[in-house]
Structures are given as structure tokens and as C-alpha cells.
Symmetry: C3
């Protein structure tokens, strides 16, 4: 049951509307005017709710569905109890997302600038923006239209942010140029100095970090994640990348389009990732690696060498997935003798 205190909820949604929004087919059209109260999971849905069933592995749960209605596939509908109203979809997961977006939304603040925000005279704020309390926007910053800058954000001098971006509270942006439709989460640190030192005269002497962070369109960067700016060249995050919480992206890293970087990954400096690379949680990459497009590196793995496009690897140091599994079973078998 979605909490009305936190979300806007559309009420009295009929199964006819569900069918329309999700492009699903309501098998028993006599039920078109039936109303659903809430979207819920297969196990938690009650008699007024609708659920979605798209994973064959959940077929045991399906037998116990208590929902009023269930959106599923032609293939899976046989597992749904007879008293549940069925809608057939070629892709129930997409149907779930569409109905979800139709029925629920976050309560967003109205456009406007909080009087406590400190915005430099030379900064430019687009139309329809919300700028929260205690936000600091320094000289020369340009922010596009319809942006949501949450409280206590600091945007350092001369950064550029596109349209329809959201910057979560307490985040820090510096030396960065950010595209449209990006979401930088709370506490993310974008554009800090890279970690570069040279041992000179008995001390670790800082190598000046004079690059930037360039972020494409439609990028998400998770809570408390750090993206350091380039040392000389830029750090680049391609269009459509999804970066989870507590990730470390070092100076000069370049991520292609649509990469998925799960929580607590650490990418050392000057790595090149192709498009649609997937790094599982806690993966570590050594510096200066090339990770080919479509490569997938399993959680907790560590890469010390380049990874070929499309490769699926695992382990620390990582090897092809099958080799890793063979190593695991070899070790398990032989160590017990």
C-alpha cells in the first residue's frame, strides 16, 4: 500500500484505464469498471489491489495471489487463481512501470527561489526552477529551465547545468558541465580534485588537477558518490549512465553511453569504459584500463587488465565467468581431501 503522506496517488483507477495505460488486454471485459486501490507485490497485494506477474520463478507465489487483478503474460496466466481478474500483456514489467507512473508521483516543490539561497549576481537561473533553502550558487553558474536544486546544495563557480536536472540536497558540484535530465543524488561530490601525487623532496607533492567533469544527458549519479575531475583531460560520463550510491570515479575516467555502475564500485584513474558496460557492486578497476562495450564484471570482482567487449568476467583478478566457476568448484572439491 503506497503511503498517501509521501506520494500523490490517483484514486478510482478502473481496469479499463489500466488496460489503456499499459496496453494490456482485459480478458473479461465485464470487469472494465472495477476499481483498483493500489499497486502491490504478488505477495502483499490485497483484495482491492493489482499486481504484476512476469517472472516464471515466482509461479509458486502466483497460486497465492490475493489481488483483485493481475497483469501477466499469456504463458503465465494459468498459474493465477481463477478468482483473480487477469490482464494479458506482452511485457508486464513495462506495464508495471507505466501504471506506476500513471498512479503515483513524488510531491514536488513549486518553482521558486528560497530567500535563504545565496545566488551570485553573475549566475543565471532558467525558468521554472526550484532553488531550495541555503543553496549556494557561485559566480558564472548557468542553470537551465525546470531544475530542482534541493536545500544545502553548493554549485561552485562557472558550472553549467542543463534543463530538467535535479540536484539532491547537500550535494556538491564543481568544475562540471552537466547535460539535460540528469539527477545527482544527495551528498554526491562531483568535481573534487583527483588523487594525484608525485614524490618530490621527501613529500607527496600534489599534481595540479585542472580538468573538468563532463556529464552527458539523462545521467543519474547516486547518493554520496564521488566523481573526481580530470587532471588535465576531463572526466567524462556518457549519456544515459546509471551510477549507484557510494561509487568512486577517479580523474580522467571516461564512461561511454548507458553504463550501469552498481553501488560501491571503485574505478581508478584514466579508465575507458565503452557503451553499456555493467559493473556489479563493489567491483574495483585498476587504472588505465579499457573495458569494452557491453562487458559485464560481476560484483566484488577486480580487474587488473583490459576486458574485451561483451566479456562476462568474475573474480579478483577477474577471469571469464565460466573459468571463475570452475576455479571455485576445483578449490572446493580439492581442498576437502
Amino acid at each position: 500500500m503506497v503511503d498517501k503522506n509521501f506520494y500523490n496517488i490517483k484514486e478510482n483507477v478502473t481496469l479499463a484505464q489500466v488496460a489503456e495505460v499499459t496496453s494490456a488486454v482485459l480478458l473479461d471485459t465485464a470487469k472494465a469498471t472495477e476499481v483498483v486501490a493500489s499497486i502491490a507485490t504478488m505477495t502483499s497485494a490485497g483484495s482491492e489491489d493489482i499486481c504484476f506477474f512476469y517472472d516464471r520463478k515466482s509461479k509458486d507465489k502466483a497460486a497465492n495471489i490475493k489481488a483483485k487483478a493481475c497483469v501477466t503474460t499469456e504463458d503465465l496466466k494459468a498459474f493465477v487463481p481463477e478468482n483473480v481478474i487477469v490482464l494479458i500483456s506482452s511485457n508486464p514489467k513495462e506495464a508495471f512501470i507505466k501504471l506506476n507512473e500513471f498512479m503515483y508521483s513524488e510531491k514536488m516543490p513549486k518553482a521558486g527561489i528560497d530567500p535563504s539561497a545565496k545566488i551570485a549576481d553573475s549566475a543565471h537561473i532558467g525558468e521554472g526552477c526550484f532553488i531550495g533553502a541555503n543553496v549556494v550558487i557561485e559566480d558564472g553558474v548557468v542553470i537551465g529551465d525546470n531544475c530542482l536544486i534541493e536545500p544545502n546544495v553548493v554549485i561552485a563557480h562557472d558550472c553549467k547545468i542543463g534543463n530538467s536536472c535535479r540536484i539532491g540536497n547537500n550535494a556538491s558540484i564543481a568544475y562540471s558541465i552537466i547535460g539535460h535530465h540528469c539527477y545527482i543524488y544527495s551528498g554526491a561530490r562531483i568535481g573534487c580534485d583527483g588523487f594525484g601525487f608525485q614524490f618530490m623532496n621527501g613529500q607527496h607533492h600534489r599534481i595540479p588537477q585542472i580538468g573538468r567533469v563532463i556529464i552527458g544527458n539523462d545521467v543519474e549519479i547516486g547518493a554520496n558518490t564521488c566523481v573526481d575531475r580530470g587532471a588535465l583531460d576531463d572526466t567524462i560520463i556518457g549519456d544515459g549512465c546509471r551510477i549507484d550510491n557510494l561509487v568512486q570515479i577517479a580523474h580522467n575516467d571516461k564512461l561511454g553511453m548507458g553504463c550501469v555502475i552498481v553501488a560501491q564500485v571503485g574505478i581508478a584513474g584514466s579508465c575507458n569504459l565503452g557503451d553499456f558496460v555493467v559493473l556489479g557492486g563493489q567491483v574495483g578497476l585498476a587504472d588505465h584500463l579499457n573495458i569494452g562495450s557491453g562487458a559485464q564484471i560481476a560484483a566484488q570482482s577486480g580487474a587488473m587488465r583490459d576486458v574485451e567487449p561483451g566479456a562476462v568476467v568474475m573474480g579478483s583478478p577477474c577471469v571469464p565467468f565460466k573459468d571463475f566457476m570452475r576455479q571455485v568448484s576445483f578449490l572446493q572439491k580439492n581442498s576437502k581431501k
Copy 2:
């Protein structure tokens, strides 16, 4: 020597008081009026201090104790130099905690609301709260009595926080319902969107995250730790859980009572942890796992499958502790040939 600048210190504490507070027995009652200046470790305690000796492994250190007094067990007292005044306790570690709480305390700010705090009219703040500078409390928030909300905290709309909670500076709370006596540390991010996407039309399309974070009573959540809110169901942290710094807890995770989650652990989405589970530092859990009550997963381990209640496991992928040690020694022995 505890620093008076930072802590309140009770002075002129006599050994009689020590005995009373700690339920320890002062062997030489003629020393009851002797005063101790400070609690210190076995190695750093000087001639005015008191120390605690409860670990047999430290018996070599015991011979060099320079303290005025030492609280130890009947078993261990023989290791303490003769000139040190001895108090006998059945549990010197608990005695240490009790004396510590008696002699020292943090300097807490007085109740009151800083004028720079921005509190929505519809928010409700309980009795005896301290609300620090630049705190932002949005519409509909309810905060119990005697809470300490440190500077620059942002509490988003409609969150509920119980009595006697402390929220460290620069923390973010959203979509959350928090019990009594909880301590959320600086920079923690509670209630951000979970990391959920569906590949649609060539893009990673966000799956709406419309759940909450429900936190029980007497919970601690460490600095810069992230707890994402549920996608549809809630993310739940049970009573008495202790979560360290820089931990990632993903959407829909459910932790039972009294779990201990050490720093930099990453728990992927929809995991179920029983009661009193212990996860060592940097442990990673794959999604949708069940970790049974009392299970212990050693530091840096990775779990890809369910873990039985009470199991003690290690490695990545993790195996029973003894098997892991056997693997390590097998590998070490055989690889050297």
C-alpha cells in the same frame, strides 16, 4: 587522558565511587578515598589513572601497568603489579562502560531552535528539541521530544521521527518513519530512490520508487551511509540494529533485530536478514538473499546464495569458515610446488 575541552569530566572520583558505579569490589578498603583522574588504556594510564584489564591476551601488558588502580577479574588479578590498587569485577568491560558513562559525557547543546532553521508551518516539533542552524524541515514532518537535529540537516516532507533521536549534521532524511532513540550520523542519506531500471526503447528507464524506509527503535546508522527507500514495499531496519559508516542498503532490504553491519558493507536489493546477523566490513550480498538469524559473514566476503541461520561463512563466494580456511591453506601449500 580525556580532553576537557571536548568532554564533560567528573573530577575527584574516589575508588569507593568506582566500586559503587561498577559493582566491583575494592580489595583494599583502606584505599576507598583515593581519587582517580582519568580512565585510560592499560598502556597509557599514568599514576593518577584507572584502567581495565579483561582480555587474557593482554597479560603481558598487565605487567607494565603504571595506573593507580585497575579493574580486573579474579582470574587475571595475578598479572597486575603489586603496587596497583585492584578492584575485582565479574565483567570488567561492562564496568569500564559504566564508569565511563559516570565520569564523561559529550557537551550537548541546549534545547532551542536556531533562528536560521527553516521549519514548515505544518511541521510539528516535540518538547525539548535542539534544532541547529540551517536545518530544513519540510511540510508535515513530525519530530518527537528531546531530539537533537544538528546543523544543515534536511528532513523532507512528511517524515516521522520518534523521541530522543539524534540526526548528525548534513544528514538527509526522506520518505522515512524513524522510531525512538535512534542516531543517524552525519552525512547519512536515508530514503533516496532505489537503483532500479528497466531497459525500454534503448534506454535505462527508471522504475518508480514509491516505498519508504521504516526504522525501528534504538537504531544507529553511520556516517555517509545510504539506505534507499523501497520500490513498492518498504526498506525496513529492525530495532537495535547497528550500522557503521559508508554502508549501502538497497531498496526493499529488511533487517531483523540487532543486526550489526560493519563499515562499507553493500547489501543489494530485496535481501532479508534475520535477527542479530553480523556482516563484517566490506561484505557484499547479492540481491534477494535470505540470511538467517545469527549468521555471521566475515569481512570482505561475498554471498551469492542464502545463508543458514547461525552459519559462520567467509570468502567470495562465501563458504563455511572452516572450508574457507582449508581452501586458503590448500592453495598456499600447492601453489608453491
Copy 3:
């Protein structure tokens, strides 16, 4: 090309100036009045730029240098195309740093205190400091001269900070004494309670944390890194340490001089590191370990036992580097049978 919006750039720098600043020798003195526009990498430098070539592994790139000038060694100059003006340096990497510092600098705010900063009457701020918007400085804090305290920083009561320190925005400092020339990055949490509990009466009872964090001179602590204060003794970070982003340093840890701690390392409580220890990214140390001076622990490794001075170790649990490589190759070879 360094971005003029973000950095101060010295223009019209001649090769004579380059030679002087870097102590390099311009081979063709007729070129002394030639001007360079920008420092760039070997691959990105254009016909007005200068690059630096010091790694023999990059000799293939050298053949394609398009720069106007290149600083390199006597040994490597043969790899540079004939039309590129060559300067000879005994240490081109240091030359790079020196020219970089000569040509570029960050745009720093002017000294002054933002009117929104909340500074306790009993705090003392040195000469020439910048104190940003919404900064909170509590009772008894002492800040040296020429410090840069960025917006939204919270410095809790009685902390001491030396001269020429920089505290990045949204950072938190408590129970800490910090030397001169330190840089604490955005979102770092210095001085939070350590993670210490005792199981008493069926609950995890907090062990009071009444120590401090003592930070030497010339220390850097990365973004969103956490350094917990000591439980009874202090947590100590020695002079010249370099700590990257998202690192966890627990209570009572003691780091010697010049340690390099790469991103996402986790050091459990009461560890002692000697001088110039290097911990690669994501390394984990168990508690109470001694890591000898000059020891190097490779990325993702885990130490469960002490590490000898000067040792180079790898793996989880870590072993000498050569042993680790032997284990890896043994496993790879034998598991394929």
C-alpha cells in the same frame, strides 16, 4: 585545453619561461620566444600546446605527438617527431608539475566571512580566512590564518585547525585537532563516534567514545571519507598522509607519516600503520593490526594479520605478492583440467 572559465591561466608563456620554470634545457635556443598556449597530454596536444613525455611505455604515442613542444628525457627524445621542439629534463614529470603550477591555478574566493556564517562568539578565526555561506563554527573553535572554509561546513565545539587549511563544502569536523596546510574534502566526516558496542542485557550497548582525532600537517582527506574519533585514546593521522575518497578509518587507528590510502579502503579499529604505508583501493584491514613502514598492500586485498615493514602483499587474506601470483596461476592452470 584547460578551461578558462574554471581556472586562471597565464598566457603568452614562452619556451624560455618554460625552460626556466622547469629547469629543462631548450635544445634549439632559436625557439626561445615561441609561445605555448596550453599544457596537454601527448595525445590531445595541438600545434600550440606543450606536452610531457616521461614513460617509455608511451613511446608509440610519442611518434604521433602534434604539440609545438615536448619536455622529455635525453633517453626518450629520439621517439619525438623532428618537427616538435624538444626540451630536455632529468625529470619531466616534476617539470610538468612545475609548469602546471606556473601556468594554472584555481580561482579562489577572497578572504572574508559570509554574513550567513554562524560563528560562536568564543570562536577565534585567524587572519586572511574565507568563511563561506552557512558555515557553522561552534564554541571554542580556533582556526588559524589563511584558511578556506567552504560553504555549509560544520565545525563542532573546541576543534582546532592550523594555518592554510582548506575544508571542502558540506564537510563535518568534530572532536578534532588539525595541523597546518591540511585539505579536508567535501563531505568528509571527521570525528564521529567510533563503532563500539558491548552486548549487555540483550542489547548492543554503546561503548562511550571519548577520544579525539589528531591530524598532522600537510594531510589530505578525501571526499565523503570518514575518520572516527578514538574510543579512549585518539585516532591519529600522521604528517603528509594522503587519504582518498570514501575511505573508512575507525577509532584508535594510528597512521604514521606519508601514508597513501586509496579510495574505499576500510581500516578497522586500533590498527597501527608505520610511515609511508600504501594501501590500494578497497583494501580492508582487520582490527588491531600492525602494518610496518613502507608496506604496500595491493588493491582489494584483505589483511587479517600483521604485515612486515616493506612487505608487498596481495589477496584476501593477503600473502606476499609473488605467492599471490603463483596462487592465481596455479588455480587457473589446474581448474581447467
